[in-house]
């Protein structure tokens, strides 16, 4: 367990979602162990003692967005409702505790809320998330809350502007200090077409790692595949894109075996994209600005309420088509394939970006970077 705590502490630092020195984990085996920031570890220990789960992370996020959302929320509200599809699907809502609500026994209050949900925001302290089964699961839930609050805050600022004293300064330091230039420069890709299974698998592993290292996926969510003849080599469900060794399923195009039952939930979308576009590889990630911008719609008097799943239109972000659709067996697998072939890229409302490469991953990777950079520029242009 200690090795897991150390592994995920490093991940939180390297993906820059938490402040180094502001991270604590607690885990229960037959004994309870903790690690990291002493104050937070103490709290984490008390909280997990009241819960029937294996792991817990309590960390100070590297950005103030979660706290700002709490402070911007009207007095009677107790939770944040994420708008992006991924977190909406898996988290539903994110409860928060304001500092004055913590009382004499903050651990008990937090445990009560965390007994209901996968992650909670505690104003002034940080984000706390649990993992029923593993420490990794606690890390994933933390990352989901971080991603979700990032997206929602950016959206709210665009819609409502800055509401709190000092908020604008915090935002500009986010822009000038936290955000990094995104690019594909310096990365080495194999030139396709890739045909040998070992070669494909190695390239999928490498490119998966690139997407995480270059910050194109939140924590490690997303999926990646390559096609060779009748086979699709696709990352497994719940696989870390930066640790894909042993987590790539070979799936025949004709469904003649079901070993791919562990493949990504987007297998159907990948298969249809291959069938309709002639792509050789597919990349899918959830870069944050693309997620934010995909939900910006100027349509007036539109009768559709659940835009994220029901919008029938093809909108555009620059030259990238945007379609709606639920993940998995929902609508995304129907709506993405028809639009992605020409431009080689498509955005799914509130969800993320798909890109393809006709030969190898370089084209797909560059397209992913380009879409996110365009969305980032457009976001700041609109905000100005």
């Amino acid at each position: 367990m200690r090795d897991q705590i150390s592994k995920y502490t490093h991940k939180l630092i390297s993906d820059r979602s938490a402040l180094a020195g502001g991270i604590a984990f607690a885990a229960q085996d037959d004994t309870l162990i903790t690690g990291g920031n002493a104050d937070l570890a103490l709290l984490a220990e008390e909280i997990i003692s009241g819960l029937n789960c294996l792991g817990l992370v309590f960390a100070r996020p590297s950005l103030p967005f979660a706290d700002l959302l709490v402070r911007r929320a009207p007095a009677g509200e107790h939770s944040i409702v994420p708008r992006d599809t991924e977190t909406r699907t898996f988290l539903h809502d994110i409860p928060f505790l304001r500092s004055f609500e913590l009382g004499d026994d903050p651990a008990r209050r937090i445990a009560q809320l965390l007994g209901n949900r996968k992650g909670v925001i505690v104003e002034g302290i940080g984000i706390v998330a649990s993992g029923a089964v593993t420490i990794e699961q606690a890390y994933i839930n933390y990352s989901s809350v971080f991603h979700s609050t990032f997206v929602k805050y950016l959206q709210d600022v665009l819609n409502e502007g800055f509401l709190l004293p000092g908020e604008e300064d915090l935002f500009s330091s986010f822009r000038s200090e936290w955000l990094r230039h995104l690019s594909a420069e310096g990365l080495v890709f194999r030139t396709g077409p890739l045909t040998l299974p070992e070669e494909i698998i190695r390239e999928v592993e490498t490119v998966g790692r690139y997407t995480v290292e270059r910050g194109l996926v939140d924590s490690f969510f997303g999926n990646i595949s390559a096609r060779a003849g009748d086979m699709i080599y696709i990352s497994q469900t719940a696989a870390s894109l930066d640790e894909l060794a042993g987590c790539i399923d070979p799936v025949p195009m004709d469904n003649s075996t079901t070993t791919g039952i562990t493949a990504s939930s987007e297998l159907l979308a990948h298969r249809r994209i291959y069938e309709e576009s002639g792509a050789a590889v597919i990349l899918h990630g959830h870069p944050k600005f693309a997620v934010v911008m995909s939900m910006l719609c100027e349509e007036k008097d539109c009768p559709i309420r659940d835009c994220w799943k029901d919008c029938p239109k093809v909108r555009f972000l620059g030259d990238t088509p945007v379609v709606a659709g639920e993940i998995g067996a929902g609508g995304l697998a129907k709506r993405v394939p028809p639009v992605i072939g020409g431009p080689g890229k498509a955005v799914v409302y509130g969800h993320g970006v798909f890109t393809i490469g006709r030969k190898g991953f370089e084209e797909a990777f560059r397209a992913l970077v380009e879409v996110e950079n365009w969305c980032r520029d457009e976001y700041f242009r609109l905000l100005a």
């Binding site: 367990m1 885990a27 229960q28 085996d29 037959d30 009241g50 819960l51 029937n52 789960c53 294996l54 699907t89 898996f90 539903h92 445990a111 007994g115 209901n116 949900r117 996968k118 993992g131 029923a132 089964v133 593993t134 990794e136 699961q137 994933i140 497994q236 469900t237 719940a238 696989a239 987590c247 799936v251 469904n255 003649s256 075996t257 079901t258 070993t259 791919g260 039952i261 562990t262 493949a263 990504s264 939930s265 297998l267 159907l268 298969r271 639920e326 993940i327 998995g328 067996a329 929902g330």
Partner: protein, 579 residues
């Protein structure tokens, strides 16, 4: 009242009386329904012999039954197993559960023994015992057809009548209450069938909240590759696992001597679809529809059944496997135990049954004649009688299903800590060790597994008390079901409070077992798994299980559960402090 009906229907078969009573609300809130309620209601009886007239046979529905909660038209049957001697529960989906609730009860509690075969007919408030002499001896199909006009049917076949220790209770729509031989308990009572009809509805306290939670569940189902993925169980049924277990090299073969069967492709999900024209089928009201049937409506075998009548007995013929499945359904036999008993017998005799020998043997088992007399007792008794006790691949006499424990160490541990014997469904670690849900764990490591198994056992005890289907949790979590329950019942439940309820249920079951003499000596795998390797290859090594590491993790499990090193209760007053 929301969620529950608050009523129990008691039937004493000895006196022929049936009457309704109130169930104290605190019990419903503390044990929910289904498995939990049954386990609580059996508290004064758990030490009776499974075949004693006093031993109750309890059919309990849950607070979500009768609502639109996905996969919740289910019930649990609870009693003591004649096969394992443990407390026993089994959940089954279908219209029967729905109608039992609609008849206005949360539980049906049957005790006593009828001098002559009877059918219990429940129609709303009315309950009566009807003579069933002409049905006795009939197969499941004929029994169901004879009673179908009166409502939904749960019945036994010849296997239950004759006391086969792994006889099922079969539901009219093809579902079964399987594994531990509760069909034999029913047969011992002279109860051929229960037929139920009712018009009542289950009141939901907060409709809007309920609908919202339901949509959350459905969205998670759609996002789950195992449920609605194009290779998932909705498409191919549980035989979708055949190829995966082959690829992971953990498909029990030839009585667990090997872990790869080269011909398993004959009965994979796609192969069954092609050969049998499989169409979607499933429990009443379930959106997943994981069961598959022929175009004529004949149920097709599930994963465990194809694998055990297939690989475990070295049989490659899909038609022989389908036939064995249909016959078990007709005779009211548990397919896993039947196939595994045949495999143990086959290994002991030096020859596994040939495909065309299986059907006649199953008939002999159900009738307890010829070889069937011995085979009807299950693999442990068979192997002991043949002087080769090590060949029964069972834990607490319950035959292991089709996941070789050498290929998933959490599964190895969970087979042993299961309160009903070697069952995969108590903690279902296959979910994370193989299917990567909710997150993957290392299948060849014991690290953390004791805690993971304990949490999953608690969670699943709550799930079995709602009652919801385990397969829902390939997508949804206890979080969404807690929300459904809160909305339906008007009481606040959280994932944490449900796990606490599950923990209480689990501990109670273990307490009963300990009081009936079970200790850590019963929490062990068959020797084979510690001594012989599985079939390594293709870069996957399947070594024997490290006994010392296994024992360490088992001891951790005991400590986490607050048990002694012998796996027993230091505190003999445990039960008296439970609600």
């Amino acid at each position: 009242m929301h969620g529950w009906t608050g009523k129990i229907l008691r039937v004493d078969l000895t006196s022929g009386k049936a009457w309704r009573e109130d169930i104290p609300l605190e019990l419903l809130h503390a044990y929910l329904g289904g498995r939990g309620l049954g386990v609580r209601l059996i508290r004064d009886y758990f030490m009776f012999d499974p075949f004693a007239p006093e031993m109750p046979l309890i059919f309990a529905v849950g607070p979500l039954c009768g609502t639109a909660a996905p996969t919740a038209a289910r019930l649990t049957v609870v009693s003591r197993s004649p096969l394992t001697g443990t407390i026993y529960d089994c959940s089954a989906g279908g219209m029967f559960a729905w109608r039992l609730k609609a008849a206005g009860v949360d539980a049906l509690f049957v005790t006593g023994r009828s001098a002559r075969p009877v059918v219990l007919a429940i129609n709303g408030e009315q309950a009566e015992l009807l003579p069933a002499l002409e049905l006795w001896g009939k197969g499941v199909h004929d029994t169901v057809s004879a009673l179908a006009g009166e409502g939904s049917v749960a019945c036994i076949g010849p296997a239950g009548e004759n006391g086969v220790l792994y006889a099922n209770i079969m539901m009219g729509e093809g579902n079964s209450v399987g594994r531990g031989g509760l069909g034999a308990v029913m047969g011992g009572k002279g109860l051929k069938a229960v037929v139920v009809n009712g018009e009542g509805t289950t009141a939901v306290a907060d409709r809007e909240r309920f609908d919202h939670a339901r949509q959350d569940v459905m969205r998670l189902f759609r996002a789950s590759p195992v449920i609605f993925g194009e290779l998932g169980i909705s498409e191919y049924g549980t035989p979708a696992l055949v190829d995966l277990m082959r690829q992971r090299r953990m498909a029990p073969t030839e009585n667990f001597r090997k872990t790869v069967f080269p011909d398993s492709g004959n009965y994979s999900g796609p192969a069954i679809r092609k050969a049998c024209g499989a169409k979607k089928d499933g429990c009443f009201g379930c959106p997943i529809q994981c069961k598959k049937s022929t175009p004529q409506g004949e149920p097709l075998p599930e994963y465990e059944t194809v694998s055990h009548f297939g690989a475990l007995n070295g049989i490659a013929s899909l038609s022989a496997i389908v036939r064995a499945n249909s016959l078990c359904n007709e005779l009211g036999l548990d397919t896993i135990s039947a196939a595994a008993t045949l495999a143990a017998w086959g290994e002991a005799k030096g020859r596994f049954p040939a495909p065309d020998e299986v059907a006649p043997l199953l008939v002999e088992i159900a009738q307890r004649r010829g070889e069937g007399e011995l085979l009807s007792l299950g693999s442990r008794r068979v192997a002991e009688a043949l002087g080769k006790p090590g060949l029964s691949m069972s834990v607490k006499s319950l035959e292991l299903p089709a996941y070789d424990p050498r290929g998933a160490y959490g599964m190895a541990l969970a087979y042993c800590t299961s309160n009903r014997g070697g069952c995969h469904l108590r903690a279902y670690p296959i979910s994370h060790e193989i299917l990567r849900k909710p997150v993957p764990t290392d299948r060849f490591s014991f690290s953390g597994k004791a805690r993971i198994i304990k949490i999953a056992e608690d969670t699943n005890a709550a799930v079995d008390s709602l009652v919801a289907c385990k397969f829902s949790f390939f997508g949804a979590t206890i979080e969404e079901y807690a929300e459904l329950l809160s909305a339906a019942s008007g009481m606040e439940y959280s994932p944490q409070s449900l796990k606490e309820i599950g923990e209480r249920i689990y501990a109670t079951e273990r307490f009963y077992n300990c009081a009936n003499g079970f200790t850590s000596a019963d929490d062990l795998l068959p020797e084979r798994f510690y001594e012989e390797p599985g079939s390594s290859g293709e870069g996957i090594d399947i070594p024997p299980i490290d006994r010392q590491r296994f024992n360490e993790e088992l001891q951790k499990y005991y400590r986490i559960r607050g048990l002694t090193a012998e796996g027993t209760f230091a505190d003999q007053g445990f039960l008296t402090r439970q609600p």
